[in-house]
Symmetry: D2
Subunit: 297 residues, 4 copies
């Protein structure tokens, strides 16, 4: 079934055989100009989570934040002193806000546009690395606030979001949009504490939403979960949205965003569109980057 889904939504070759950028090609100057015109209130809202440096049941590989030089020397000294730090992170996974490059996932040994997985060597990706987004991702963002649409505080882990729900949400999606899906994950975590997202799952899109993505043709998809509903129904296609979006359609993904602040800001204004800016670090050969995307309303 998922293999059929993958085949039905795949569009390799759309921007040429050698294309590594996928749906980022949709972010034309005209769309950037229209997106900037959406700024009405001058409010910038962060969509990146605090980097999780403490171990937790939902953070099995904590990020490293080390003070290389603290103020302990400086407090009693005259003149110039400084502090400095190191930050290290294995950003893929279910905890850190990050962007997935198109080289992050493979289906049958192939990444986006049919490039071989062997192009991702032990020293980095030679095709579709995150460097294709070094110029930043700037466009019209739209938010689907699913808890609000359902009249709940948050979705439960494992709750699926269906195509019809997206169609009936009252959110006008345009080609090239950056589509964000809020499931209330951080609200639930704040209220009930962390849970093991690998075992108990995350709310996310039903696999059939891949067809919706194919129809709507966004440039980027993001969620406060990992877009896919988890745990998977089909272990051979454990993250079908990732597989169809990244590999089949060339749609970059934003995982583990913080979207509660943006949901509140949108709800307060009755407006679900905004200028959205993602600025991946320029990591040569990287299969993604930690990010702190900014919505500007």
């Amino acid at each position: 079934m998922s293999a059929e889904l993958f085949a039905a939504t795949r569009r390799w070759g759309r921007w040429g055989e050698d294309d590594d950028r996928g749906a980022l090609n949709l972010l034309t100057p005209e769309r950037v100009i229209r997106a900037a015109a959406l700024v009405q209130d001058g409010l910038s809202v962060p969509c990146g989570r605090r980097l999780g440096t403490e171990p937790a049941v939902d953070n099995p590989n904590p990020a490293l934040h080390h003070m290389l030089h603290a103020g302990d020397f400086a407090a009693t000294q005259k003149g110039f002193q400084w502090a400095a730090d190191f930050v290290g992170v294995a950003f893929h996974g279910n905890s850190v806000s990050h962007i997935d490059a198109l080289s992050h996932v493979f289906v049958d040994g192939r990444m986006y546009n049919g490039a071989s997985a062997a192009e991702v060597t032990s020293v980095g990706a030679r095709r579709s690395s995150i460097e294709v987004a070094e110029g930043g991702i700037v466009g019209r963002g739209v938010l689907f606030d699913i808890p609000r649409l359902r009249g709940v505080d948050w979705l439960e882990p494992g709750d699926a979001i269906f195509k019809d729900e997206l169609d009936d949400a009252g959110v006008n999606v345009e080609q090239g949009d950056i589509v964000l899906v809020h499931t209330g994950r951080d609200r639930r975590r704040d209220a009930l504490g962390p849970w093991n997202t690998y075992v108990d799952g995350l709310a996310g899109l039903d696999p059939e939403c891949a067809r919706w993505l194919h129809d709507k043709d966004p440039s980027v998809l993001g969620s406060d979960g990992v877009s896919d509903v988890m745990p998977a129904a089909d272990l051979e296609w454990p993250i079908p949205i990732h597989m169809c979006a990244l590999v089949g359609m060339g749609i970059h993904l934003l995982d583990n965003l913080r979207l509660d602040l943006l949901a509140d800001a949108c709800a307060g204004r009755g407006r679900w569109e905004f200028l959205f800016v993602v600025a991946p670090l320029h990591i040569g050969g990287g299969t993604g980057s930690p990010v702190n995307p900014i919505a500007i309303l």
Copy 2:
């Protein structure tokens, strides 16, 4: 002399005794709205350098980029496979594009607003960490393209830029602007190769430009060097612009930007203002963050 400069430009208490944000307070909604209106061409330009993972004479502490899982397994396998990586960086220094939090530098044991250096402990900063910018920095950016103004390809290491030059540049600086200074560093590096910036220095602002900053009242200052001209004239005040801006005036700094692309984009349009977005990672207690700022013209 620098002590006098520091005293003359310091404005602790301007936003209250407990303020940790400094001149970011100038980025009001009105200014954000006006900045967004500057987008005319729909062009986004990256201002972050490629993360330097290879040792070089100007990169003594290379960043780490490790593939945790490459495509070597995946190339010959059916179904789902993935790649993932780790990135680690000691971002302060003269190589990595980063933002300095106000807790990065101390003068006489004090950081911005008089907070004690002891507030930067071995587990992070309790005052003026980079978390004050977690919402993103969004504003009007203006570029001083010094090589163009001087009719040269680049400034030499150690070249000072003076106040009068900024005043005569034809760039209209408004209160709250994000001021960027291009010295041609990366052009020189591309042409002549890397040099030891700690020994041979970097082009940057003459210390007296601290008074210019005090007059112009920008929200943020950035450069393709480290804003300060180096090496220092006065070893007791080795980076007076850092000391006056971060500690005295609460102006966050952007160091080691890549500004040649932006200079070219501005020159081609005869327009030196743009929407500028910086999205620091949300590092709890961090004294800065690696960044890839985006200019949108």
Copy 3:
């Protein structure tokens, strides 16, 4: 009670006011010669655990092991190729086999010999760093195999080991020995799986064993747990053996050893003494080191 214990067993000044080596001073050439003479079977037994790079309930901060360069390039190429890796570890805690330097723990702001905790700055320890053991720790090792003495496979988390038990074990302890205590931790883990050692604890020495250490005067103490029974009975003295041994008596500690192989080797020979070698990495200013101690029977 623990404060009394600490005061009763402390022996600051024993090797002079400036001493940073503590009981390592007991490892005289004569003792090294006698220890080497214990080698009868030519068997070397590792006492370090496999570095835990996978998250687990007993490994909340996994070690990093990254292949910087794998064989994926090399397999099809002529001539010379290579592979290389990076290893990183926050070795203190309840998982990694490591040695604690005398600068690892403080009581009332003091480390061993009364040195101030402020000597451990954000760039390393200026007193009693692990560098005092750079020459290696070589001596007579003796093993207390507590499960065997009790006729069980392993001790349960939280089980205390008492002084009398050590006295009645039939193990002859000499001054300057390296004393090892096997609790069966890894056997239990292999059989029942990992447990949260911070919550459910580890088997270890009852606090009163500090007096036994004071009497027996070993050079080093080690265990497959962390020497202290956990959880603590007294939250203000959470690890009294650590506090008395490291701070009061200057006895370096070996935590999280793997001792099941050594216990089997000793039991098979009816001999509980051996040459023991610990080779800490030479980490400037380090408060310890990951180690793989070797027993030679």
Copy 4:
């Protein structure tokens, strides 16, 4: 020529087709017992260099040593406090004292015993990882102190050491020995400062010494350089001793040792043999480990 050398000294299959340990198989219990009997003075001498955490011309990828928690909190507090650190290192290269596993180097896509380079995947080595030495390497060490033999303080970078010199040194090499070669590298560095070892080279064994290794049949080879004389005479066989020893003969290598202390200790006693212990960290799938080998005289 080097290809001929490689073919002439290769002995794949010596301990069976599946063997991953190579010449470590020579470290029989009898040899361990005889080695322990060499301890006469009770002196332990470290052979590991201080971990280089500072950038230098001979240390392009500095090791990381970060204090996770310093004493800054503890100095003024009652009761228990602690300090802890993180250490991270890309140990291969020309700076860090380390052991090379047999999976570190490939010739024509093959490692020791003919195993494919593809066995070293992006998550570690499946053949001949350093885990084969987890039990420690214990044996008779012998030192060739080349500067003393030549009547100089140190050899110059690029100086080759020849077979005849080893034969005439008056050092009796037995099968299974751990052979160490001192070139005076650290003495030269202490006197003249660091140099770029990748460009200017290191003193080491002439490639023809591979035949000497084949004849003498040691278990392990080590040096204060990297055993190979560098720079290479033949760029296609850049490190022929590595290639012949690791790949052809299954001899583990110890690189970048500190041997000046051992040379002094041996010279003072007129004795060039000792018990030698190497204790690699148990790194699953590692192609080596940082080490601090200990000689016991």
